[in-house]
Each structure stands twice: as structure tokens, then as C-alpha cells.
Symmetry: C2
Subunit: 239 residues, 2 copies
DNA sequence: CGCGAGATTGATGGTAATCAACGAACGTGG
DNA sequence: CCACGTTCGTTGATTACCATCAATCTCGCG
């Protein structure tokens, strides 16, 4: 494991406040592995053996049933996944595969549970992380149940444009069919949804989406802070 | 507050293992209130002031955006809701209203956070509860994205029949339109979905649903343990 | 240049929402 | 007790939304 990996992980909200005595054995018993794109890291229904942390690259969380498949989330650096399954010592409800060449830190589940028991600051951070993940999923569920596909795309574009620095465009770093699955639609319908947003000033140039008129797009999308705002913007702590 | 209320709450997984010194001030600073049916207890976007615990009755969690509304979950006795918002001191992402006459214990949010900080067993229980809630929402999201309305209904019937004691029937204790919203469809389409399940032996008699042929219904529903099983059945701890 | 993967477009059928009408159940007041 | 009104559920007709299948297009790459 590289030294700057360690510091990156140390700065994760999940690990930032814990004691050195708890952190060190955690990373020392963990190991970083490099994976090629498209590799399945964990399989739903498997037992949760390791906590996974994306150090570099990108990971797709997905799930299947009855021959159907859907993408539930993307995890980028430095992000944790399947924490809940690890903590409750249960099977995964989601599978994970790399979207690109990725380096992933894996920490044995029992080590994580032991560290949690012995370090209150770590347990506190876990509570915060679980609450964050839970609320994110509630937002996804509302997005899914309350909006049409085109509306979900429009709001996703607005969120992404902001995340990528308000440049009036969004770059998609993965296949469009994956985005479609994440948004709960087929690749074909994503194409049609993009076409429908052309009247709001949205132009598709391969993996680059130009947002010509953010106001028009927002008027169509009707973004809702309780669905679309990142978690730290909903805080009332700063009031 | 009645004495058997206290013992019921004390036996909740969330409070079972905590110390008496932490538990007592928690309930002493909380208060039980009785509410009529249909009353809105909390409103999304409000700040999370109290942890709520349903002592008696039933509560519906719902959310709205752009004039649309959907039911996210039901909470019965003895169940906790909006724990995540309370812990991270943020606004509610969901609203709550009573489905019937209900008694609800309300504990000030800062008391809960203080108790968590001072009692590791309580914090541990919170971690478990959050993980459970998170995984439940993931299951809902999979249900929503991977199944049609009729399939969701069929699986809901199978789960409910089991919960109600394998009697070959399911009693619905609330309006069918509410169930429709919980399942992510309109009341009209729920009716049609019931009609579609008649060939699998499902018969509707007002609020009572007869399941004539559980095998046929299951063949149609294709229940998936990673979506439909209650959390404690997914544990690998007992292996 | 030609191949192949991914994206797009078109055609069609299925699934779901909406609007409207009707019917059953229940409670109230005459 | 019954007439009436209200609420909820169901059914029908129509439209919107979405999935599927097929064909074409684009672009990067051998």
C-alpha cells in the first residue's frame, strides 16, 4: 500500500476521527488490490467478508433478480461500500463491479467490527456514514417513485453539472447504458430522453453533454432539495 | 406514560442493551402523545427535533414532490422512525401521518444524541438499527426497479401472508389506495393487478385477500430472498 | 478499409397514469 | 327505518410512458 493511499483513507470521514491505535491495525490487516475494468468484486448473496474502499477508479453497485439487472449506485474515490452488510454480518444485497481499472482496499469484516467496538470515535463515524447512505437511498427511492425517466435524467444532469464545477456541461465517464440503468430506464429510452431535453437546450456530443440553458432545464426538472441536494447542504447545523 | 409502555420500549432492540442510567433520562424527557387517525406528525423539510417511537397504532411514512405523493413505508408498534435525521441533525426527508388512532413516544433529538455518545451499547444498537433500515430501503429500491406492479403486489401478498401467520389469507388494515402508493402504483392499477392475480388463485373480499394457491402465486411472483426475506433470515451468523 | 461495440432511431406492444363513470358500503339525519 | 350523501373501490376508455425488437449509424481500432 502506498503512503498517500493511507493518508487519503485516513482523511475519509469514516476514519478521520478514530485513534491511531485503532486505525493502524485496520490498514495493516487490509490489503490494496488492483482490478481490471468490468471485474465483479462482490456478488450479492455472498457473505460479507471484507469492507471495501475505492482508492482509485470507479465501482458500480448493481443487483439482479429473475434475469433482470439494475444499477443502484456508483462509488468513486475515496468511497466505502457494503458497510451495512459488514457490520451486521450478513449477506450482500448488492453486487459490485469495476467500471474502470481500480485499486480497492479490502479490510476483513471482523477487524472492522472489532475496531468499531473498541473505538467510540470510529463507531460515531460509522453511525454518520450509515445515516448518510440510508438517506441517499431514500432519495433514490423518491426519485424513482415520483418522477418520470426524463425528469430523472434532467435532475441528474443538473446535479452532475454542479459536481463537475458549473461548466455548463457534463462529461459521462462510463457507458450510457450504465447511466440508463442507474436512472432506472433502458439505453434506448435514455437516448429518447436526451432527445426530449433538446428543447431545453441540452445537446449530446458523445460522452459530453452541453447544457445550453440551465434555467430552462431547471424549470423542466423542478429539482427538489429533499431529493437532489447533496447531504451536507441539508444540514441545519450551520443555522 | 404507562408502565407497560416503558417495558415495551425497553425491549426494543434499539434500547434493550443500553444501561439503565442512559435509558431512564431518555424516557423521562420524552413524552407519549395520543393522535387521531390521519394526523400529520412530521413534515418533510422540517428540522429533526424528536425521535419518534410508535407505541400503539400505525404510522405511514410518505413523501411529496411537484404535487405528487408516494408512500415509502409503514411503521407499527413498537417501531422507530426518522432515526437517521435525528442522529445527523438534519431535516426530514419523509413526512409521517397516523393511519389510525396512535400513541407515539417522542424523545428530544439532542437527548438521543447525548445518550448515544455516553453509552456504547446504545450506539451499537443504533448502528444495527441503521444498517437494518438501510438494507430495507435497498430492498425496496430493487423491488421498485426490477419488478412490475403486479409482481410487487404478488410478493407483498406472500410476505404479508407469512407475517400474518400462514393462514392462507391477508387482511389489509388500511385503505387500498395507501397500499397502492406503498407499492408504487395508482389505486386503479392496484385493482387491475388484483384482477390479474385471480388466475393464480387470489380472491379479493373487501379488506380480506384469500390466497387459494400459494404455490401458483409464488411461481408467478418469483420471490427473491434478497428482496423479500425479513432481515433476520438473511443472517449468516447462525450458520 | 472493414470490423465491432455502443449509441441512436423507428416500429410495436405492454405497462401504467389519467379521466370518467358506476357501484358498494357506511353513516347520518329526516 | 329508509333516503340520501359521502367515501372508497372497481371498471372502462384513453393517453402517456416505457420495454423490446430490429435496423441503422458512429466511431475507434486493428
Amino acid at each position: 500500500m502506498r503512503p498517500d493511499d493511507v493518508s487519503g483513507i485516513r482523511n475519509l470521514p469514516l476514519f478521520r476521527d478514530m485513534r491511531d491505535e485503532t486505525f493502524t491495525p485496520l490498514v495493516e490487516n487490509g490489503f490494496v488490490q488492483q482490478f481490471p475494468p468490468g471485474l465483479v468484486l462482490i456478488q450479492e448473496s455472498d457473505r460479507a467478508d471484507f469492507l471495501h474502499i475505492v482508492v482509485e477508479g470507479a465501482v458500480e453497485m448493481f443487483a439482479t433478480t429473475a434475469g433482470r439487472e439494475t444499477t443502484l449506485d456508483f462509488v468513486g474515490p475515496v468511497g466505502v461500500f457494503i458497510l451495512a452488510a459488514v457490520l451486521s454480518d450478513q449477506v450482500y444485497l448488492q453486487s459490485a463491479r469495476t467500471l474502470e481499472k481500480s485499486r480497492v482496499l479490502m479490510i476483513p469484516a471482523d477487524r472492522v467490527r472489532r475496531a468499531m467496538t473498541s473505538d467510540p470515535a470510529f463507531m460515531q463515524a460509522i453511525v454518520t456514514e450509515l445515516a448518510r447512505a440510508y438517506r441517499g437511498t431514500i432519495r433514490d427511492l423518491k426519485d424513482q417513485k415520483l418522477r418520470t425517466g426524463t425528469e430523472r435524467l434532467a435532475n441528474w444532469l443538473l446535479r452532475s453539472e454542479r459536481q463537475q464545477g458549473d461548466r455548463g456541461r457534463v462529461d459521462i465517464h462510463f457507458e450510457k447504458r450504465t447511466l440508463a440503468s442507474r436512472l432506472g430506464m433502458t439505453a434506448e429510452n435514455l437516448s429518447r430522453a436526451f432527445a426530449a431535453l433538446r428543447v431545453q437546450g441540452v445537446e449530446v456530443r458523445g460522452p459530453r453533454i452541453e447544457i445550453g440553458d440551465r434555467g430552462a432545464l431547471a424549470r423542466f426538472a423542478q429539482p427538489d432539495p429533499l431529493i437532489d441536494s447533496p447531504e451536507d447542504e441539508l444540514s441545519t447545523r450551520s443555522h
